[in-house]
């Protein structure tokens, strides 16, 4: 809050850009002198959930043999029960649209409950192996629970856990750090096919859920995951695969997904999707260009190549500026 905000409002009034009435209203609000701790306190709640569940996780992991299993399990179950009790008591039940709890604390209790449930099932599996050695099944159960909680309590954080669980079921690790480090595809190239299929399935789910108007505000999360999963899988395959036919297939997939996300980002007015789509498409394009130039003998023309580089980058910058401008214009319209 600075005096210059008030000055700016005044000069908006002087230039006749806002009405006298609006100015009075704004001034009256400013004079309330509100200092809101909303974001800060919510962040505290959030941090407390993260700290608490991490603490419990480590506690169980370290003492997995020493404390009685039944004791741990019943304690966990008790904590989960308390959290869920409050959540269900305060929730308005399942709604198709975006909803919010009346009390902000409950939202974080729901998050704590679902993380604790995941820990509980993980512990159960480790100790008693109720699902045998079928680890995929053991991943699927927490995923289903998380999906249920995410949809029932309308919680985006839980939804991301659920999606990472779904990907883990397929065999992928899609936590942001792993996606950035591109650690999935080094060992097993066939994973990129599963990744692409998973991404497509996520996209299909968003199409279906917007058709039946089910939690349409979740779409952007699904699409963000889909964009990153598909693009990173195809790009890493473009780097590694050299068989001509397969390589071309991945190029087509990247082109197709870029085209789809180009359209959908306009529809959702989501600049984050748009920017990442452009970045991935640009990387793909550069790989394509390099593959074409590979056949030329570089030792003769590298001087020319370095001379051309600045022009190439200026060209790219102009193109990017044009693309962003176009996007901003179209979503404003």
């Amino acid at each position: 809050m600075s005096k210059f905000d008030g000055q700016a409002t005044k000069s908006l009034l002087d230039k006749n850009l806002i009405t006298e009435n609006q100015y009075q209203e704004i001034n009256a609000y400013r004079n309330l002198n509100i200092f809101s701790l909303n974001a800060e306190l919510k962040l505290f709640l959030y941090l407390s959930v993260l700290l608490f569940t991490s603490g419990i996780g480590i506690l169980i992991y370290n003492n997995i043999d020493s404390i009685g299993h039944i004791a741990i399990l019943s304690l966990l179950l008790l904590a989960i029960g308390i959290c869920f009790y409050y959540c269900f008591k305060n929730s308005k039940g399942f709604q198709k649209q975006e909803t919010a709890f009346e009390h902000p604390v409950v939202e974080y209790l729901a998050l704590a409950a679902s993380i604790l449930t995941c820990i509980f099932i993980g512990y159960l599996q480790f100790q008693y192996e109720p699902f045998g050695t079928n680890y995929r099944l053991a991943t699927l159960i927490p995923t289903i629970v998380s999906f249920f909680c995410a949809y029932y309590f309308d919680n985006k954080s839980i939804l991301t856990i659920a999606i990472t669980g779904l990907a883990a079921y397929v065999g992928l690790s899609v936590t942001p750090q792993d996606l950035l480090n591109n650690s999935n595809f080094y060992q097993d190239q066939t994973l990129s096919y599963s990744a692409i299929i998973l991404g497509v399935l996520l996209i299909l789910w968003t199409i279906y859920s917007s058709k039946i108007q089910l939690k349409t505000h979740f779409n952007i999360i699904y699409l963000t995951f889909a964009l990153h999963i598909i693009s990173i899988a195809t790009i890493s395959s473009l780097f590694d695969y050299f068989e001509y036919g397969i390589w071309f297939f991945f190029l087509l997939v990247l082109a197709g997904s870029s085209f789809y996300f180009y359209k959908i980002s306009h529809e959702l007015k989501a600049i984050s999707l748009y920017v990442f789509m452009i970045v991935y498409a640009y990387i793909g394009l550069n790989i394509f260009l390099i593959r074409i130039f590979e056949n030329i003998n570089f030792s003769d023309v590298w001087v020319l190549f370095i001379m051309i580089l600045p022009i190439y980058f200026i060209g790219s910058i102009l193109m990017f500026i044009k693309l962003i401008k176009k996007f901003n214009k179209e979503i404003a319209a």
């Binding site: 809050m1 210059f4 000069s11 850009l17 609006q22 704004i26 609000y29 309330l32 509100i34 200092f35 809101s36 701790l37 909303n38 974001a39 800060e40 919510k42 962040l43 505290f44 709640l45 959030y46 407390s48 959930v49 993260l50 700290l51 608490f52 569940t53 419990i56 996780g57 480590i58 506690l59 604390v105 820990i119 993980g122 480790f126 680890y135 985006k156 954080s157 839980i158 991301t160 856990i161 999606i163 990472t164 883990a168 397929v170 065999g171 690790s173 792993d178 996606l179 950035l180 999360i221 963000t224 984050s272 920017v275 990442f276 452009i278 370095i306 001379m307 600045p310 910058i317 990017f320």
Partner: protein, 390 residues
């Protein structure tokens, strides 16, 4: 000194104000668009992702231009050594020219200009380091001068941050010149940051032109951070270990240990109380960070509790504090409140929540124990970075 058209800067402030009024619901979207159309504006990217993208592209462009010049210089000149000694000056000059060119084209806060301004500063640093053979105080001095120039001319906030760091560097390296300097360094730094804090505060209060407001606020906050760090126990002890080479034997402690301990705990609390009293959001956030760092300081030397118990209890305590604060503030309408502020809301931080959860608790496939607590890196809050904004 400011290269930009003053009218455009004024317009920028007006458009920003209109934007926040629109999101607060005081004016309609059509009105905001009308205001935006009415006032000519800079070429500017307010979205951080887009700005980052243009920054990267600008950096590529800068690098490629430098590459061309290096190529010409190496093939054209007779002695390579001479070229190497001046190349960084040439690169820095390119940065200045690029920044000036972009500013004349009305680029402000666009990402491209950031790349050239910061690139020029980096090259100034290298150039001086090569000429003086790495004499730190001169490097810091020249970088400080250059970055201050950049700030005054282009109102570039990141340059001002560089200036603050470089100025602090000048102070430190100057103290190293004297024998006694290393010993009294914490106190000098503390006094200097306190002096500059009150100086900047005074300037802000008497400020007539709005262009420098955010820069002064940044410098002011930097002084607060430096003040806390200057006499923090952990910082002082580790620095005295590296600078003076004095080992702290078991049963002993650094001189004035009680003062530093007291400082580590009192200052964050003072910040917190003062921030709530003066309704200063910047100070509030700094006080949160300072409290966190004070706890880390203690845990660094004394393992009071095992990590898992500390985390669990910390979570419970934090939850209780937040719960009761919310309960107390929930129904207040004026002053300190839990109701979201219509005009200045800091919700952006909450939008990152989902991302943090995914980084910290995301499930991983077919590990030996699925969902085992192995995945729960207690401190993995930093992952992700610019992955996406929901």
């Amino acid at each position: 000194m400011i290269v930009y058209d003053k009218n455009l800067l004024d317009n920028l402030a007006l458009v920003e104000e209109a934007k926040s009024l629109e999101s607060a619901g005081f004016i309609s979207k059509e009105q905001k668009n009308l205001i935006k159309k009415e006032l000519p504006a800079f070429k500017r990217q307010s979205n951080i992702l887009v700005r980052l993208g243009f920054f990267l592209l600008g950096a590529f462009l800068y690098l490629s231009i430098c590459g061309v010049i290096a190529l010409i210089g190496l093939t054209g000149s007779n002695s390579e050594g001479f070229f190497f000694s001046i190349c960084c000056y040439i690169f820095a000059a390119i940065g200045f020219v690029g920044a000036e060119f972009l500013a004349n084209q009305k680029y402000y806060g666009h990402g491209l200009d950031d790349a050239f301004i910061l690139g020029a500063l980096l090259n100034v640093r290298f150039a001086i380091a090569i000429t003086t053979e790495g004499y730190e105080i001169q490097v810091a001095l020249f970088v400080a001068v250059a970055s201050f120039f950049m700030y005054r001319r282009y109102l570039h906030l990141l340059s001002l941050l560089v200036f603050c760091l470089a100025a602090a560097g000048v102070l430190f390296f100057a103290m190293f010149e004297f024998d006694i300097g290393k010993t009294i360094l914490p106190f000098v730094a503390m006094l200097a940051s306190a002096a500059f804090y009150f100086l900047t505060k005074r300037i802000i209060n008497n400020l007539k032109i709005s262009y420098y407001y955010s820069g002064l606020l940044l410098a002011n906050s930097f002084c607060l951070v430096l003040f806390y760090l200057s006499c923090n126990y952990l910082v002082v002890r580790e620095l005295s270990l590296t600078l003076l080479g004095s080992e702290v034997l078991p049963g002993q402690d650094i001189p004035f240990a009680i003062f530093f301990y007291a400082f580590t705990f009192i200052v964050p609390v003072v910040y917190l109380v003062q921030a709530l009293k003066t309704k200063d959001r910047m100070m509030l956030w700094i006080s949160f960070l300072a409290i966190g760092f004070s706890i880390y300081t203690i845990r660094f030397y004394y393992s009071v509790l095992p990590i898992e118990v500390a985390l669990t209890c910390g979570g419970l305590v934090l939850f209780t504090i937040a719960y009761f604060s919310i309960k107390k503030l929930k129904d207040k309408e004026v002053g300190l409140t839990f109701k979201p502020d219509r005009i200045n809301n800091s919700n952006t931080i909450l939008n990152a929540e989902a991302l943090i959860v995914a980084s910290a608790f995301g499930m991983k496939p077919e590990a030996k124990v699925p969902d085992s607590p192995m995945d729960f890196g207690g401190g993995g809050f930093s992952g992700g970075g610019s992955e996406g904004t929901f």
